[in-house]
Amino acid sequence: MQLRAATPSGTMDLDLRRGSFTVTLNAICWKCSPLPASGFSSGEPAKPKTGEYWKRVGVWYGAGVSSMDDLERTISGLRKQIRQSVASNDHATLAELRVKLRQAEKQWDEALDELAPAAPATMSLLPLREQVHQALTVLTVAAAPKLIAAVHEAFFAGAMAGGQLTHLRRDEERSFRSAPHARPYYLCSAVTADRLTPVRGLLAVSTWPLERRVIGSLSPRVDFLTAAIRVAEHVLRPGAAGPHALQLLRRFAASIPGAWADADEVSPDMVMRAARAELDVHDHSDRVQRRAAAARASKQLDESQQLFGAAPLGVARQAGERR
């Protein structure tokens, strides 16, 4: 069984089957494998001295790779000898060589299994809202559940199903209305610039300025480009360029002119440059529209409406009629 705990300061992986665990504290990586027999149950495992870990890791990986090289050489040598024995009709040696070959191949398979990286953990121990907050903090713009899930999968522990986020916004709104500001942040809506109603399917963070949460006609494109820049910046961080992260970056790059020169390789620097170039075109008009809408919203809407959007006109009218 494998578990992964992710916190803002780092991640911890537990592999109960192998009896090993890895703690990654942002830049520091501390690994102990395998655990001493008593280590797991009776408390703290012995921490290796500084520097010793890297030596051990080097030896472990190095040993694995070099022993595999040796094995491959042995296997090809044995095959050559088998071929010669067949040619010279030496049946006694042939049987012996075949046994040796089978053993060597078995060892090679086992060594390969050890080299293969453990399958990525599939769950995070953090509550869902924390996970969404993490992903939105990376993006810095309002995003749809699908993108949030993709960012979380790319840069944090484990997959997140976009469908889980459906009720999140409503729960947050209920929580805010019953006890305003009881939490340090709320996951709230983005607001349309023209009618100040909530935008369908976008999530934002309450601590962001209103201007960032207002969506005008150019804002979807501006936010897309901003998200692309943020993802590219994140990919450049040491250890962040995993396959999911690169795949996400490729998705962004495909829709930005000049962000993708090579069909296979995607360069974060190039994505950033191209996205900034297009952003310069749209940024001013978008900013003017957002600023005006944000000023209007802060004048016309109450605190909770500023976070979760005004009721659509039809609903407001019905509520008025009921009164």
């Binding site: 749809a144 993108l147 998200a227 659509p312 006109l313």
Partner: protein, 363 residues
């Protein structure tokens, strides 16, 4: 004296007329010569109910769940992140300038919003759209008058302004493989897009703008080859547009067709099956095998046309001009019936076919 509106209401057996959508409006152009269809569509008769009542239940227009979910997922993909993928296509393939990246969601905001309210919002937004301030309009609500009743159309597409023109974009999930797509599916999509073009033209003229602002070319967005990547193609819709206009004007003149029906005829699905079938035969149909895929009454009309040459398709019917029944055709072919002067050519073709058949069987 009963007016046309009252007569149409009585034809459908009272109640509200069936609402039309882009698919049903597009289907009207498939067989413009059919009086039965024209009258039933104009009256808004519940055709599936009528077909079921006369013993020919149908499943036309009901899409498979898989097809629907595939269509929705492709559309969502193309439109995600402010239509990022669509913008890429339009920039690469149609030269959309980079500053034009505006996106307006005119889709339903859910509870409490009326259809007419949405229409007015779409109208206001498209009316004020000038170059540089509006590019993509997601799910605008348009409307078209079908024999005096408004049919509201929600294109699963975006109308957008490129240069001085509005283009209708149709997102479809059938693939374009090596630049070629299924011809029948393209034809259906093009006719459907023509309905949207017509509705968009009518919206602009209602708003006092030139309907010529709407391009007669639509942009068809489909998956490319076997991938999920999209590709865009410009398709000319002038021909289906003309057919549609003709058919709609014909429906506006429905009074002329109604005179062909006896005054007491109604197509009320509640009527006894025999009586209903009798009433249906009062309106002449023009059956062809294509009707089976486009009209709910297709199966009934086929049963009715049994024994006639129409059942063999338009080409056969035209080749055998003047020979209406299959039995007559057989008699002419075998020489049991001597052709009259006007049937000489058809008889010659038939005898030739018969001779070739005999020769082929003799081998």
């Amino acid at each position: 004296m009963e007016n046309t509106e009252q007569r149409l209401s009585r034809l459908r057996g009272g109640g509200d007329p069936e609402a039309h959508n882009a698919r049903t409006i597009a289907a009207m152009t498939r067989n413009p010569g059919c009086v039965r269809r024209a009258i039933m569509d104009a009256a808004g008769v519940d055709k599936p109910a009528v077909a079921a009542a006369v013993g020919h239940p149908t499943s036309i227009g009901r899409l498979s769940d898989f097809a629907v979910s595939r269509g929705i997922s492709f559309e969502t993909r193309v439109k995600s992140e402010g239509c990022a993928e669509l913008l890429r296509l339009l920039r690469e393939q149609l030269g959309l300038p980079v500053p034009q990246a505006h996106y307006e969601d005119l889709g339903s905001t859910g509870k409490g919003e009326t259809v007419s309210g949405r229409y007015l919002r779409s109208k206001a937004m498209l009316d004020t759209a000038e170059q540089g301030t509006g590019t993509l309009f997601d799910h605008p609500l348009l409307r078209l008058s079908i024999s005096g009743v408004w049919a509201y159309l929600e294109p699963d597409l975006v109308a957008f302004q490129l240069g001085e023109k509005f283009y209708v974009i149709e997102i479809k999930s059938f693939p374009v493989i090596d630049g070629v797509a299924d011809a029948s599916k393209v034809a259906a999509s093009v006719t459907q897009s023509a309905v949207y073009v017509l509705a968009l033209q009518s919206l602009l003229s209602e708003a006092g703008r030139d309907p010529g602002l709407v391009s007669h070319e639509v942009i068809l967005v489909c998956p490319k080859d076997f991938s999920n990547q999209a590709t865009a193609t410009l398709v000319d819709v002038r021909k289906p547009l003309a057919a549609l206009r003709r058919q709609l004007s014909r429906m506006d003149n429905i009074a002329a067709l109604l005179h062909l029906l006896p005054a007491n005829v109604t197509f009320d699905p509640e009527l006894p099956a025999m009586e209903l079938a009798q009433a249906l035969t009062q309106a002449s149909a023009r059956y062809s095998p294509e009707c089976l895929a486009a009209c709910e009454m297709g199966s009934f009309c086929r049963a009715e046309a049994k024994g006639s040459t129409a059942i063999l398709g338009r080409t056969v019917r035209e080749d055998l001009g003047g020979v209406d029944a299959v039995s007559t055709a057989l008699e002419l072919a075998t020489g049991r019936l001597q052709p009259t002067k006007d049937l000489l050519q058809a008889a010659h073709v038939l005898r030739l076919a018969q001779r070739m058949r005999t020769e082929a069987l003799a081998r």
